[in-house]
Amino acid sequence: MPKKSYRQAINEAIRMEMRRDPSVIVLGEDVAGGQGGTGGVGKVGNIFGVLAGLYDEFGPERVLDTPISESAIIGAAGGAAMTGLRPVAEIMFADFVGVCFDQIYNQAAKFRYMFGGKAKTPLVIRTTIGAGFRAGAQHSQTLHPLFTMVPGLKVVMPTNAYDAKGLMIEAIRDDDPVIYMESKLLYDAEDEVPDEAYRVPFGEANIVRTGKHVTVVGMGLMLTRAKAVAGELAKAGIDCEVIDPRTTSPFDEDTIIESVEKTGRLVIVDESPPRCSLASDISSIVVEKAFKALKAPIRKVTCPHTPVPFAPNLEDEFMPNPRRIEEAIREVLA
């Protein structure tokens, strides 16, 4: 099977859906990559190159560079979606959703319910998440908990290129607003990705590694780190079961609960501050539904309750790193 990067996989998914369905359009800041400057047509395709070539294939009617106007981007995308278009809108960094959050949580997320099931909003909002880029406090956040707590949104955080493609196709075909969060540090990560279209359903966790001693849950870059640590610990005879929920909303509770019922131990690795977070949410679900199975307190490996620092030494310490993940796993097993 061909190897493709996470970046290519997302590109391919959007491209295939655009070929299949003329109602799919792409809009955002610099998504075409500055074509039309005096330098001629660029092939950049957003600042991370994720949308490269889409403008060339689909033209300015379907791939729109917007002004820097996040409220209007998401508002227009939501409005167009109500009529049945399927916009794939980009917010360059998740941090910038602050500018347009109203259009997400008060508007798009509410339509289906508030209008008694009559409205649908097939909108995809792509954005990028995560620290480790030396980008400081306003360009490094994850913010998935913010979206996850809003009823009416679906929230996707792909971990690998295979899932990235299948989840994007699913997101575009879905009739609800979907927040699709791309881990910046995974763009170059490669995986086997089929050439044809396929869907990865929402709300189905992926058991990345089976094991019997401890359940380790993570998403995006954190899952990659957790998996690497689990591989190392296996050499020391510690057998981790590693689970990737893939989507935080809808959320596959059952797979995690079944796993904890088997292992009796849980470590959650989550790149976000610890309060009111995905980690605290999973922890509460497990305590409520699998309390009797637990042989040790749950351990959460998260960021501290701080903004993202710039200094490289502080930022490396801010993010859940392999050392902290390993410590937590050893602690629940102690």
């Binding site: 800041e29 610099d30 990559g33 500055g34 074509q35 039309g36 400057g37 005096t38 330098g39 660029g42 950049v44 600042i47 560079d65 917007t66 002004p67 820097i68 106007s69 996040e70 409220s71 209007a72 941090d95 910038f96 602050g98 500018v99 880029f133 030396r134 980008a135 400081g136 406090a137 306003q138 360009h139 501290p304 309750h305 701080t306 903004p307 620092p309 710039f310 200094a311 490289p312 030494n313 502080l314 310490e317 801010f318």
Partner: protein, 334 residues
């Protein structure tokens, strides 16, 4: 001031030898500082985003010369030039770029995020457009206190398409706040040219519907900038409300260090450097007027380079922030 004033005529302006030499030195300081920052970035000593101000020096230097002590400055992330013009220490700025304890934000902010109450510099903001509303707030506080200060609020041609800019324009005009809005029109927002992002490309007209007088200024001519700044600041200080200055300028480098700037031609960039360079034109004027000779100007350059070299050395020698800094300053530290 009429809502549609003609561009200021640079030729008619009076300037003393000392003033002209100071302009030369101050602009050169910014240029050499930025060149050095670019080198440190290339050497891997600066990471993340680093937005250079090269080409735009006349804007901040000219406006600073029109301000009175106490007048405030707020801007976005392309902020090194503004800080140096405000009189902030090049060492502290450079050490923030390298993420060291000796930086203005003690390494926690980075290139985009610095602050100095002493020099009336209110940041260093990464969310495009947010500083405009904050700037209206600075002016509100000035009016409330009746302290006679004026706020200079800088933003880009791209930022001019954010909704909150216009919410702020309206409030500032409604309440006659002492503020000068300065749009630094360097013709590109990342890879998107003004013409591709703005229905009204004469950005100084953007205040018209709020009754904010606007003026287009040759932002490559430090004297024209100072002249326009003086008028605008006097207007704002006199209780007549805001003014909008559109500084026609140009950035020579890419949007940030990672931008190869393929959306424009080399010829376009070269033509600006060749015919409109703000530093070259002051140099020529100094020589034509007999205020300085090549040798004297070289001596100034040597002096400036020495200051910048010291700053770069400091930025490399200053220690990393202590790891305990990760957890401090979130709220008032107990």
């Amino acid at each position: 001031m009429p809502a549609e004033a003609a561009p200021s005529k640079p030729k008619a302006q009076k300037v003393s030898k000392d003033e002209l030499l100071a302009f030369y030195r101050d602009m050169l300081m910014i240029r050499r500082f930025e060149e050095r920052a670019g080198q440190l970035y290339g050497m891997g000593l600066i990471g993340g985003f680093c937005h250079l101000y090269i080409g735009q020096e006349a804007v901040v230097v000219g406006l600073q010369a029109a301000m009175k002590p106490g007048d405030q400055v707020i801007t976005g992330y392309r902020d090194h030039g503004h800080m140096l013009a405000c009189g902030m220490d090049p060492k502290g700025v450079m050490a923030e770029l390298t993420g060291r304890a000796g930086g203005y934000s003690r390494g926690k902010g980075g290139s985009m995020h610095m602050f100095s109450i002493e020099k009336a510099f209110y940041g260093g903001h990464g969310i495009v457009g947010a500083q405009v509303s904050l700037g209206a707030g600075l002016a509100f506080a000035n009016a409330y206190r009746g302290d006679g200060k004026v706020a200079l609020v800088y933003f880009g041609d791209g930022a001019a398409n954010q909704g909150q800019v216009y919410e702020s324009f309206n409030m500032a005009a409604l309440w006659k706040l002492p503020v000068v809005f300065v749009v630094e029109n360097n013709q590109y927002a990342m890879g998107t040219s003004v013409a591709r992002a703005s229905s009204e490309t004469h950005l100084h007209r953007r205040g018209a519907s709020f009754n904010i007088p606007g003026e287009e200024v040759d932002g490559m001519d430090v004297l024209a900038v100072r002249e326009a700044g003086k008028k605008a600041i006097a207007h704002a200080r006199g209780g007549k409300g805001p003014v909008l200055l559109e500084m026609k300028t140009y950035r020579y480098r890419g949007h940030s260090m990672s931008d190869p700037a393929k959306y424009r031609t080399k010829e376009e960039v070269d033509a600006m450097k060749e015919h409109h360079d703000p530093i070259d034109s002051v140099k020529k004027r100094l020589i034509d007027l007999g205020y300085a000779d090549e040798e004297g100007l070289k001596a100034i350059d040597r002096e400036v380079r020495a200051v910048v070299a010291d700053a770069a050395q400091f930025a490399q020698d200053s220690p990393e922030p202590d790891s305990s800094e990760l957890l401090t300053d979130v709220l008032i530290d107990a």
